[in-house]
Symmetry: C2
Subunit: 295 residues, 2 copies
Amino acid sequence: MASRSSATIGLVQMRCTDSREENLHRALKGIAEAAEKGAQIVCLPELFGSLYFCQKQDPALFELAEPIPGHSSELLAQAAKKHQIVLISSLFEKRAPGLYHNTALVHGPNGGLLGMYRKMHIPDDPLFYEKYYFTPGDLGFKAIDTPFGKIGVLVCWDQWYPEAARLTALQGAQILFYPTAIGWHPAEREQFGNDQLTAWQLAQRAHALASGVYVAGVNRFGHEGDPKGGLIFWGHSFVSDPYARLIADAPHDRDACVIHQCDFALIEETRRNWPFLRDRRIDAYGGITNRFGTP
Amino acid sequence: MASRSSATIGLVQMRCTDSREENLHRALKGIAEAAEKGAQIVCLPELFGSLYFCQKQDPALFELAEPIPGHSSELLAQAAKKHQIVLISSLFEKRAPGLYHNTALVHGPNGGLLGMYRKMHIPDDPLFYEKYYFTPGDLGFKAIDTPFGKIGVLVCWDQWYPEAARLTALQGAQILFYPTAIGWHPAEREQFGNDQLTAWQLAQRAHALASGVYVAGVNRFGHEGDPKGGLIFWGHSFVSDPYARLIADAPHDRDACVIHQCDFALIEETRRNWPFLRDRRIDAYGGITNRFGTP
């Protein structure tokens, strides 16, 4: 596809409710706003179509899953076509009876599906019971060519893994998008909240730096679940440039439409000044595929 | 070796001159101060025995290299024994005529050599002409068992590579030490200086976070080379805890003896709360040994 000198990206930070139609409506509104502001590549938060249902294990919640193509993906494809954008979305995919994934879709300006990614790293922690719902992805790490640039999509828990970012960048991605659903446990927020938020952005800024790419994290916001417990999703959708500079950072508690023009010349400039890719010791990295120690 | 609940580390930030004896004297003084303050594992900056000679390519400068064991390593071994500490140092190693490395040594409390590491990633950039002097290391990434904890030693440019930190942590290292010589080009400092310093610490804090280990960076300070150009080494020796918190950060322009007690229980606590090691997709990381794209 055509080589471009920049791409304008749009991050739609939103609250989610228990109504799929309401969430789709809000997402479509956010997409329209981002496109209106010039965004060429728009990204929604992880699993924006529902509350973050993984706070509990309930077999009835598998009803939330949808086939691809399906109702939501069709609406998203239409939105991409209507606004002539690349649209990154995140769905609870029903692949087969009893087989579900946490899946990101990339639709192109003609409404076609340019690529999909199934979340590779699946968490399982108090109120984040994802291993119950999602089979780990089997599509690997890849870059997706779009008319506005080569992008990588990774999802939430993936963001803690330098391997995922590196492998995607090595496929040629210029921007890594991370649809996310991350929040504070209310009881922990006072003591650890700021450190957790800092660590979340820091990990992803480090990916930008290590591989000389842009990184965008797109989170939901709002309190979900038990009013006395549950999770407070912390927003703070952000963009890091290849120098690890935090060049956009949304508030923690409201809708936001983050727009940034990513200058691809800065990728080359950063990589020339800090040529990390030149010196990787690929002869000595084989142990990365070990679990721990020497097998 | 005995399992310990904590280790007190000491980072000796110092200025270097063109006199080896003066540098050794200053280093020994810094080691004594750190030990006096309770440090059990002490780390010196990269190539502390000389000015940062890699600002130019000059065959005469290979005279600065020393065999191991040799004059400097013997003095360092004695210092480790005298203070009953683990001592991490960095030397320009003459391995054979025409074969030189940038090498880190780890001496134990009895003066014996517990391990050595040869810098794996070698930079080569304006005023950092290291590829001229140093053959890339051939010892790989490893953890070194000491009486005060299991440590990893990596050197300067290695700090930009998540692979190096991960591989060392996977060998069981609890603390990663990075002897370093990094500084500003005076002409760039105003525009980029702060971003460069931030990026340097951020990259290493991200290693701490990704693998749940402590990280310590130990830098020299001071202006070396052409008074109108040269390099201003930026100090800022620091410690990051496994949560990526910057828990110590030295000034940019003076001697510093940074002391921190690393609580190993925090490694387990952090890894339980953010169990990244549990979920690594080792089945899908093979591409890390590719240079770029799909070979």
